[in-house]
Amino acid sequence: MTTKLMGEAVQRVEDDRLVRGGGQYVDDIDLDALHIAVLRSPHAHARIISIDVDPVLDIEGVHAVWTYDDLEGAMAEPLPLLIPHPTLTHGRTQYALARDEVNYVGEAIAMVVADDRYLAEDAVAQIAVEYELLPAVVGVEAARAAENLVHDDVPGNIAARSEQSNGDAEAAIKAAPHTLSLDLDIERSACMPMEGRGVTARWDTANGRLQVWTSTQTSTGVRAAVAAKLGLDLLQVDVITPDVGGGFGVKINHPWPEELLVSLAAQRLGRPVKFTEDRREHFISSAHERAQLHHVDVGFDDEGRLLGLDVRFWHDHGAYTPYGLIVPINASTQLVGPYKTGPYRVTFDSLYTNTVIVTPYRGAGRPQGCFVMERTMDAIAAYLGKDRADVREVNLIQPDEFPYDHGLVFQDGRETIYDSGDFPTMLQKIKALVGWDDFESYRAEMAAQGRRVGIGLAAYVEGTGAGPYEGAHVNIESSGKVKVATGLTSQGQGHQTAFAQIVADELGVPFEDVEITTGDTRRMAYAVGTFASRAAVMSGSAIHLAAKKAKEKALRIASDALEADPEDLQIVDGVVSVKGSPGTSINLGTVAVLSNPLRYAFDEASKAATQFSVGDATKPPVAEGDEPGLEGKDFYSPTRSTFASGMHAVIVETDPDTAEITILKYAVVHDCGTVINPMIVEGQIHGGVAQGIGGALYEKMAYDESGQLLNASFMDFLMPYVTEVPDAIDVDHLETPSPLNPLGIKGAGEAGVIPGSAAIAAAIEDAEGLPITAMPISPSELFELRAQHAVAATTPEEN
C-alpha cells in the first residue's frame, strides 16, 4: 500500500533547481530584451506644469520615451479600482503615467525604453519636468486634520467611512461595571520581498499575440487587466508567472503601471521589453501597509469578561486605493480574535495621504486588529490586577460554540463565522510552551543578576481561504505521469511539493510522477490568486477534487478493461488492480491510452487504442457525455472563509542602561487545520515570526513632513538579519480540521506575522512597567518613553 503523503515532511521538489542557480525569475527571461526605466516624482504632491523629453529623443540606445500624452484609449484612463466596496465612496487610482498631478514621491511620470537599464536610467535623468508644488499630507494626523487635501475632490481626505456592529456597544459599555479607553498606534512597514517587481513582455507580430511574464501573485488578474487596457481579446494574451522571489502581498496588487507599459512597449516596438524594479523603486513605488491609529472604549466585569467593545480607527491608505478596503476591513473584523466581545462596534476612516499606496502585506490588517484587542486584554488585566492569561481565558469562545457567528461581514462579503478551533486548549499549550506559570521565579532570578525581563502573550484568529474559487486540471499521460495545473501563483510556499502530495495520495501514483504547474494562464485560465493564506485551502481542495474526477474516470475505464466492478478496484503506485487479486491489473498509463480512441498509432502503447483494437463496434468510440483523455477538472468555491488561529508568547529582555531590546524566547501554538506538509508549514511560521519581529522592533517607513521617505534602502529600513531573530522559535500545534473543505485545511501563510507586535509590546510593557501603546518600538523610543515616564512619575497628576 502506498504510504499516505498527507502530513509528511516531504522534501521540496522545487529545491534541486533553485540551489543550483537554475531558478527562472522574471529578470532571467529574455536577457536581450530592451529595458525600461521610469521617471518618478521627486515630490509628494505637485501639479505637473510641463515635461520636456526632447533631450532624450536622440540619445543613442534609446528606443522610446513616453509620457501620459503617449497613452491612448483605456491606457489613458486611471488604473482599475480592483475591489469596489459600497463604503469606498471616494476611491481614487493613479494613471499608468501621471496626467497632471503627482501624489507621492515615486509616482510614475514618464518611461524610457533603451538598450539596457544603464542607458534607460541615463535617459530618465535627462527628462525635465516643471512642477508646481502643493502641500503634502503626511501621516494619519495630518490626513484627519484635513488642512490640506490629497485629492481636491475628496473632502476630509476620507476615501471611505465604514461602520459595523453586532449590537449596541455604546449602551453595553455604559452599563458595564468597569470601562477603559486606550489609544493605540501602528506604523508603516512593507512586504519587502528580496525580488522586487518585474515584468517581461513579448509581442508576436505575426500572430498578434502577447506573452507576459510577471512577478505577480495573480497571473489571471494581470491577464485580464492587460487585455482590457491594451484593447486585446483575452485569448490574445498569455500571462506566465515564473519563479517569484517572494511576495508577501505586494504582488497581489495589479496591474502595476509597468505591467501595462512594458506590454504596450513590446507591442508597439515589436521587441521583447522588460522592467526590473530596483530596490529604491520598490521602496517608493510599490506598496506599504500597517499604519493605523486606534481609539478603544471597552466595558468589562470583575472577571475581565468583555461586555462591550467600541473601536474607532483611522487607516493610512496612501495616495490611492487600487486594492479597495481589504486591509481596514480585515483589521476591523479580525480584531475580535478568539474572544466573545459582547456587543461590538467598529468604525474606520480610510484616509488619503501623499505617500506610497497601501495594499495588503502579510497579515493584511490583522496584525493591527490583534494589537488592538490584545493590548486591550492586557490593559483590562492590569486594571483588575489579574493574570493576563486568565483574563483571556474567561473571554474565549468555547469548542462547543462552533460554528461561531460574530455577526460581522468579512472582507470577502461573507459572514464572519468561525468554522472550528479549540482556543482553551491552545491557551494551555502556549502557557506550557513559554513557561508562563514559572515566569515570576525566572524574573526574580534575572533581577538578581541586574537583568530586566518581561513576558507577553497574544492570540489571533485569521480568516483564510477566501473565495471566490480556484480550479485545477489533472491530466494523466500515457506514460503514467500526472500533469497538474492550478491557476494561482507560487512565491516560495512549496506548492509544487504540497499539491503533488495531495495528488499522489488521491490518485495512488508515485509522488515523483506528479508535476504541478502554477500561475500559467495557458494551462489554467480560470483562477484568482495567492493571498489571504488561501492557496492550500483553495487550490489544494480544487486539486483534490480534480484528482478525484480523474481517478473516477480511470477506474471506470479500467473496470471495462479488467472486467471488474469499479468498486473493487484500487490504484497503488500507478497501477490499477482488483482488490485482493493483484495479478489482475493495468497500468494507469495504459488506462490513459485506452481513454483516447485513436485512428493513428505512434508507438507500441498507442496501438492498443486504435480503432481495430478497442471499443464496441456498435457504440460511438467516445460515449455520449464523455470526452477523450484521462483528465479531471474541477473547481472549489466555498461559501465562506475558514478560520485558522494561534497564540504567541514571548520573553524579552530590556537593557536597563541602553534600552536595547532582546528576545530571549519566542513560542508559537498554531492551528491551521489539516497538515499537508509540516516542514513547509513550520517554515512559513518561522518566516512570519521573523517578519513580526521586524515589524515590532526594527522596520518602519520614516517619512518626513514633506513626504520624502528617509530610509528607502536596506541600510536604513532595518529588516532582520539572523542576528535579530531569536535562536529558537518553539512551535507546538493543534489540529482542528475545517468542516468547510474536503481536506480540512485552513491555511498557514500569513499567520506567523500576526501577533508579533502585540506579544512583543506586552512583554516590553511587562519588563518596563510602563504602557506600550505604539509599535514598532526602537531602543531610542524606549529610552524616551522611560524619560517621559520618569518625569510623569515625579509630576503631580493634573485632572
Partner: protein, 205 residues
C-alpha cells in the same frame, strides 16, 4: 584588457576576460557594468541574483578568489584576473549537489530561493574556512545575508548540517523540526548541540 569606442556611442567599452566557474568568458562592457550584471547578462549566469544593489542584502554574493564578495559592489572590469565562482559552479564535478546545497535542501533552508545563491556561496566558503562551526559561528556565518522568507531557523540548521556532510560525519538527514530549547537555551547560555532526531510536529497546512 582592451578599450573600445564603439561607433556612434559616447561610452567606451572594455574587453574583459572573466574566469567564472572555471570557464573563460570574453565580454565587452562599459566600465560601469557591475559584476552582478555582467555575470547575469554577459555570461548568462542568472543564478546570481540582485536584491538591493547597495551591498546590504547579500543575494548577489559570489566567490572572488575563494572569498565571498558582493558582486553588486564590484565593477566587472576590476574582476579581470580573479577566479569567480557563482552558484552555478558550486555543484560537485559529477553534477551532484555540494554539501551546502544538499543541506539547504534537506533542512528546508530556502523558500522562494531568491536570496539562496548568496547564502550558498557564503556558506560554501565559510565551512571551508571553518569546517566545525559552533552553533554561534554557524549563525555568524550567515549574518550578512538577508532572507525574507525563512526566518533563518532552517538556514542555520543547514549551515550546521552542511558542515556535517562535508566532514562526512552523519549520513542521515535531520528532521526539519527544531528542538524545544528551554528558557536556559533561549537565554543563550547553552545551546550548542542540536537534537537531530527531534520528531516532526504536525502543523496545519
Amino acid at each position: 584588457m582592451a578599450e573600445n569606442t564603439a561607433a556612434g556611442t559616447a561610452e567606451r567599452t572594455h574587453d574583459v576576460r572573466l574566469e567564472v566557474n572555471g570557464v573563460t568568458h570574453e565580454v565587452t562592457v562599459p566600465a560601469r557594468r557591475l559584476l552582478s550584471d555582467a555575470l547575469r547578462h554577459e555570461c548568462g549566469l542568472t543564478g546570481t541574483h540582485v536584491g538591493c544593489e547597495h551591498g546590504v542584502c547579500g543575494a548577489c554574493t559570489v566567490l572572488v578568489d575563494g572569498r565571498p564578495v558582493r558582486s553588486c559592489l564590484m565593477f566587472a572590469v576590476t574582476a579581470q584576473g580573479s577566479e569567480i565562482t557563482t552558484v552555478e559552479g558550486l555543484a560537485e564535478p559529477d553534477g551532484s549537489l555540494n554539501p551546502v546545497q544538499q543541506a539547504f535542501r534537506e533542512c528546508h533552508g530556502l523558500q522562494c530561493g531568491f536570496c539562496t545563491p548568496g547564502f550558498l556561496t557564503t556558506v560554501t566558503a565559510g565551512i571551508k574556512e571553518n569546517p566545525c562551526p559552533t552553533h554561534e559561528e554557524a549563525r555568524e556565518m550567515v549574518a550578512g545575508n538577508l532572507c525574507r522568507c525563512t526566518g533563518y531557523q532552517n538556514i542555520v540548521k543547514a549551515v550546521e548540517r552542511a558542515a556535517e556532510i562535508a566532514r562526512g560525519d552523519t549520513p542521515s538527514a535531520p528532521a526539519p523540526d527544531g528542538d524545544d530549547g528551554g528558557l536556559e537555551a533561549a537565554t543563550g547560555e547553552t545551546e550548542v548541540a542540536r537534537d537531530d532526531d527531534a520528531s516532526t510536529t504536525g502543523l496545519g497546512a
